[in-house]
Amino acid sequence: VDREAETITYSCAGHPYPLLVLPDGTATFLDDGSRAPIAAELFLGAKRSGQAPLPPGSLIVLYTDGLIERRGESLDAGMARLASLARELLWEPVGAVCDRLIAGLQPASGFADDVAVVVARPRGVSQRSFVDVFPASVGELAPARRRLRAWLESTHADPNLIWDVITGVGEAVNNAIEHGSKFNPQRRIMTEVFASGAGISASVTDGGKWEADSAASRRVGHRGRGMLLMHELADEVITVPSDLGTRVTLRFRAAEAMSAGSSR
């Protein structure tokens, strides 16, 4: 991945073609870089790699064929189903995209083969998305806020909404630093924020496991306050723990943003 040039260079060695969804919703299978399995290359030579645009706001899905294969059906049908579902999930956090692709593509009888899915999106901003990754350190809070604020202002969101999003996300990031990362700056925190006619949705993902609403976290002074602030500022707070980390999603002003020009 070349972040400057906003491109991805890829080659497929036996796996199905990666799926690229661009910010405009165009879904393309990257079929330009097929090559022989790495071990066979010694004999066959001929490396092939392809290149594709990967601007901020796009999504890339890597998967094993178990995800799309169904007995008695062409591979094309499976690929079309994957592409259509991935387009719907374009403005969801990557962890949710993974979960929902697997849930949505699973046949009633269950998967026949093992399934691995990797979903990635580049850091950076598009008109509708903001993706940031930074070390789990309190020194990163102010610069991360500044980046988020700059993007929110570019969306012309209502100043009250901007305040609520920055404060709510700030509390989620505090939790991710304290609980998800135990103040270890080697850990990384990812924020994914999406703007749409239906308001603002912000997700903060860390690499740890913690219980968001446990009695223990409410007992500690500012921690309980942080939870209260987050829950009151956002319309909805969803915490999804997984083996890979904890993801907190805050939704703001879903109803209000739809009636343009409204103010609180």
Binding site: P143, T167, G170, E171, H222, L228, L229
Partner: protein
Amino acid sequence: MTTTTFELTSADTAGRNNSIPGTVVVRGEVDISNVEDFRDAIAALMDRGPVVLDMSDVTYFDSAGFAALAYLLEHGRLAIVVAPSSQVRRATTIMNVPVHDDAGAAHQAIAVQGS
């Protein structure tokens, strides 16, 4: 590296005594990275007499800041001003922090506290 910073401006603290509260305006941002400095700075001012703290112009204030305010309100004579139009007003309401609309009301409240 850019860090979180706040700034305190004291308009009338010079030569004040215990009966005349000093008005302190806080600007900038308070988060978990600088909240101890914030708490200690206000506590030091409160050690010299009652304080009216105007928070209307803060640009970020998180739960750690609110925990510090709760501590300071217990620690001594403090009245907080948040203008009704201020962005932080909604958060102070959520956090149940007693605030006054302007410095006049805050000074009155301090006077009542002291009597």
